[in-house]
Assembly symmetry: C2
Homo-oligomer: 282 residues x 2
């Protein structure tokens, strides 16, 4: 199946892609320079720049904030830790509201230190999202549960399939009012035989973000060896076609953790390549 | 839930655990020395010793061959490659028959070189198993599809969930005659929210092998950083209880790929620790 290239105006930069060399201000200016119209900042760099300052700069440069990375990380060994996570998520919701972000990305969190109780951790994730959902709804900030690859189940996110993320959505947001949905990241989900069916199940109401990069062969590190679109084995046009068939019309956010390659390069070069690959390989 | 320790007589050694220091003969003798009553050899070392010689040694030492590792690797870029894979699987079935192995473990294989056609690769796996199933049935060698962790989808196995493996079983072996089933390896499947349900679905007819080790935090290598039971985050007694509830009465095969730790140790020490941990942490 031949699939038409995507609208270049839908490319967004997740700033993790250039995090080693650029501040958030530089990333914003870089996007403007390269005609990239979406941006998704991380909270550490957002705090360094200041939320209001960042919001103004993004607005002035015509950028859509396609997401704020990240909330979540709900499981903790004790009540105090769980409350701290909830408080942190409430602050993230407020920041996302100031930015006018299309969503706050939630990375669930893994097992508490020393625990093997996966079911319990998953319940903490459900309960944590439940605790912050009203605030998100009131603030007009949709929460996007991002299932992470199963190799992160222990230490980063115990929500590892789109089906699981959507089960949480169905349980917590029965009205499908748009306050709770999912972020579909090809890196985490490309292998799942149920991916197309679950994207369909999500539908446009629940599909809040679409993250792109590629899976390299071989992959030499579990965390920081993602590939540029086209350098790996993911059929990106196919997955995009599933997203579009389900009604998704949002941005395509390039997010590449790459210690051995892209993080070392000049960010202007990275953005040039990303723009081209978005057209040619996505 | 407190779960009683397993029968120590059910421990089996997958010889990959000691592959850096021991030949197959040494592994057989090691099992005998440590009172381990099951063994699962790999084909490279089996060939080095000779299949008949190995079969005799195992029998003389009272060992049950809980599996032969491995067949599979069906996808290939062209017809010739696919036929070569099938021929290799037929040879593996013959070897497994000589050994009286309880199953031939099938690792599906990943994407052919340069391919991004995951659906196509999965069809090649289905067709490949279909091609060899009659021979396996005739030889009395059950084929055990082993779903591998999704991080191996590209280059080792594009069957990554128990659900997918069981779908293949249902499609190819409609009569549930016992010729086709699954190998449940905790390392590959522990993260799956559907694991218990799929183990139940498999039932004793389809549950041909149970492989144990542990998931380390952090995991520093995708291939060779598995942990000894009890050193990681997998709730092994819980998963064993699911296997038993589904009717599984077979061996518990310890299989640890560990370049930085267990492969460097004296295999006799590894076997001692494995025996103890099997009792205390499984």
């Amino acid at each position: 199946m031949k699939i038409a290239p995507p609208d270049p105006g839908l490319l967004s930069l997740n700033t993790a892609t250039v995090r080693e060399k650029w501040s958030l201000r530089e990333a914003i200016e870089g996007c403007a320079r390269h005609g990239i119209r979406g941006i998704s900042p991380w909270r550490d760099k957002l705090a360094a720049l200041g939320v209001k300052e960042a919001a103004g700069l993004m607005r002035d440069n015509g950028l859509t904030v396609t997401g704020l990375c990240r909330g979540g990380m709900f499981p903790a060994a004790d009540r105090k830790g769980r409350q701290a996570a909830i408080d942190d998520n409430l602050r993230a919701i407020d920041d996302a509201a100031v930015l006018g972000a299309r969503c706050l990305v939630l990375v669930a969190g893994g097992l508490p230190q020393g625990s093997t109780d996966l079911k319990g951790a998953r319940e903490m994730v459900r309960d944590g999202i439940g605790e912050v959902l009203d605030r998100a709804r009131a603030a007009g900030v949709p929460l996007a549960i991002e299932p992470l690859h199963p190799m992160y189940c222990a230490d980063r996110a115990c929500v590892n399939t789109l089906a699981h993320a959507l089960d949480l959505c169905d349980e917590l947001d029965t009205g499908k009012g748009g306050a709770l949905g999912v972020a579909v990241d090809v890196y985490h989900l490309w292998w799942d035989p149920a991916l197309n069916a679950q994207i369909e199940r999500a539908g446009d109401k629940r599909l809040l973000a679409f993250h792109i990069c590629d899976w390299l062969v071989p992959t030499t590190d579990l965390l920081t060896d993602r590939g540029m679109m086209g350098d790996g084995v993911i059929d990106l046009p196919l997955i995009r076609s599933w997203m579009e068939a389900a009604g998704y019309r949002g941005f395509h956010e390039v997010e590449i953790f790459s210690a051995r390659n892209w993080w070392k390069r000049e960010p202007d070069d990275v953005l040039s390549v990303a723009r081209r690959r978005h057209q040619e390989r996505c």
